[in-house]
Amino acid sequence: MKEILTIHGLSKSYKNVRAIRNLDLQITEGQAYGILGPNGSGKTTTLSIVTGILRQDGGHFQWFGEEPEASQRKTIGSLIETPHFYPYLNLEKNLRIICDIKGMPYGDIGRVLETAQLAERKKSRFSTLSLGMKQRLGIAAALLGDPRVLVLDEPTNGLDPEGIAEVREIVLQQVQEGKTLILASHILSEVEKICSHVAILKKGELLANGPVKELLAEDEIIEISCDNNDEFRKKLNQSSLVKEIEIENGLLILTLNEKVGPADINSFAFANSLVVNHMLSRKRSLESQFLELVKEE
């Protein structure tokens, strides 16, 4: 797999506030890489540095295995926070500016406007667009020249549910076409739906990093109840079957140890003469993983 973006020991501070500390990430070709974190975790700062808007205080990064240069950004489609274009220019002219920057002909403008469902508004001024349309124009601009890599920072920020669905559809289409995607978002379900890999940041530090499937499969959770929950809880605590037991709406929520499955729990209850009347195996969502990781710190 070819290296797309490699980040080593990246650090950035704003006066006395450390935005990112010693961050290491590696993104390879074809990955849909999500960057998750609460507000102020350093997602936008990281993407702003790798797209040339900000300069880092320490560490370094490489695009395509080479030291960063402005010309590399011409092969990357980026949308960092809210898209900013010339408000008095129409969509077509705004995209012509981007084509001139990238040194490409204007022929691709029609295609990207079609993809972003904005072809009918190509003669409208940017200032007359709704927030959702502006966001879609930002994505259209990022798609100009069919870049290998898309860097999107909160692309659905401030959109209504319909707008979110539209943007997600466009992004998913790009991922399915094999583009490498770097997506920062606080909408965890979205990262779950779009991304193959995820990095979780908090206060500028990397908390977890890896394939979404692996992070999801890290712990198996079972919700269970029996005729004597207190007794069952006591017995389970004495066993080596569970990592953690929580109580939620009268149900025991068990986080199982490695290599322990629901059948083992069922057998354990039966062996202790307890009658199980409810048992449900559920995978921990990325959201709960994320919240737990962030809370732990």
């Binding site: 702003s48 797209t51 040339g52 808007i53 900000l54 402005a70 010309s71 590399q72 950004r73 011409k74 980026s78 960092i80 898209p83 900013h84 274009f85 010339y86 408000p87 008095y88 220019l89 002219k93 012509r96 500016i97 981007i98 001139d100 920057i101 990238k102 040194g103 601009a141």
Partner: protein, 273 residues
């Protein structure tokens, strides 16, 4: 470079405030062709039409239109600060321009506007000279055209200083006020305070203004009277003082380079969020 100029062209030709200010600038020039002759009342010694003749028309019009450069400075401030207000410097960076190219883009614009202003001045002077001169020879007509070079340098200097102010302050209204305040208040007041010191001639705006000097009215008068007798010493007091021409040009080039150098540093350090 052509690519950067084309980007500026798309941005500016569709930007109404730019079109309005440039329109005012062109109007001020062309109106001169109509208004100056209309106010041409015979005054005891020299009439305006004397100043519209070759070769004095070049120097006179350059001196008269030098303050118009302020308008060009305002144009540069407007378009630069708008890039900050609209966050479009950031957009251009994201899509692949370097910080140096962002500055080069604006410097190319400064050059184009300065060339445009100089061309306009040249055409206006040529037209007036052809209308009002009695005797036209190629040599007389082109005698003082060197002053166009000075006008070009003066325009570039004004706009470079305006660019620096815009990059420093970022806010449109505040930048415009600061630039105007420097030109019409700070510089004259400093000049007055330093009136007893030679250093007053080295002030940035002063050296730029002095680049396009007042025509030598006494020489014109002498020529009109067909006299070659030396002028009374006291009459020479009205001649403008200042630095020698070569030093004046050197100072303007120095200030222009300084403004561009500082703009470069600012552009490299600015946080485009």
């Amino acid at each position: 470079m052509r690519r950067l100029l084309h980007i500026e062209q798309i941005k500016l030709l569709n930007y109404n405030p730019f079109r309005i200010v440039l329109g005012i600038y062109v109007l001020a020039f062309t109106l001169g062709l109509v208004i100056y002759p209309a106010v041409d009342k015979e005054i005891p010694v020299i009439s305006l039409s004397d100043l519209f003749r070759f070769p004095d028309v070049w120097v006179f019009l350059t001196w008269v239109t030098e303050p118009y450069n302020i308008l060009l400075g305002l144009v540069v401030i407007m378009i630069t600060t708008k890039e900050f207000n609209n966050h479009t410097f950031k957009t251009q960076l994201i899509f692949g321009l370097s910080r140096s190219e962002l500055l080069l883009q604006k410097l190319l614009l400064v050059m184009v506007l300065a060339l445009f202003a100089t061309l306009l001045l040249g055409l206006t002077s040529l037209t007036l000279g052809l209308i009002y001169s009695y005797k036209i020879t190629f040599k007389i007509a082109l005698e003082n055209t060197w002053v166009l070079g000075r006008y070009l340098a003066s325009s570039i200097a004004y706009m470079s200083m305006a660019l620096l102010v815009a990059l420093l302050i970022k806010n449109t209204a505040l930048s415009l006020l600061t630039f105007l305040a420097i030109r019409v208040f700070v510089d004259p007041v400093l000049f007055l305070i330093l009136r007893k010191h030679e250093v007053r001639w080295y002030l940035p705006m002063r050296t730029t203004t002095q680049l396009t000097p007042l025509p030598d009215l006494i020489e014109i008068f002498q020529r009109k009277m067909n006299s070659s007798e030396p002028i009374n010493e006291s009459a020479l007091d009205i001649l403008p003082e200042g630095l020698p021409a070569w030093l004046n040009i050197l100072m303007v080039l120095l200030y222009t380079s300084l403004a561009i150098g500082l703009s470069y540093r600012l552009m490299q350090r600015r946080r485009f969020t």
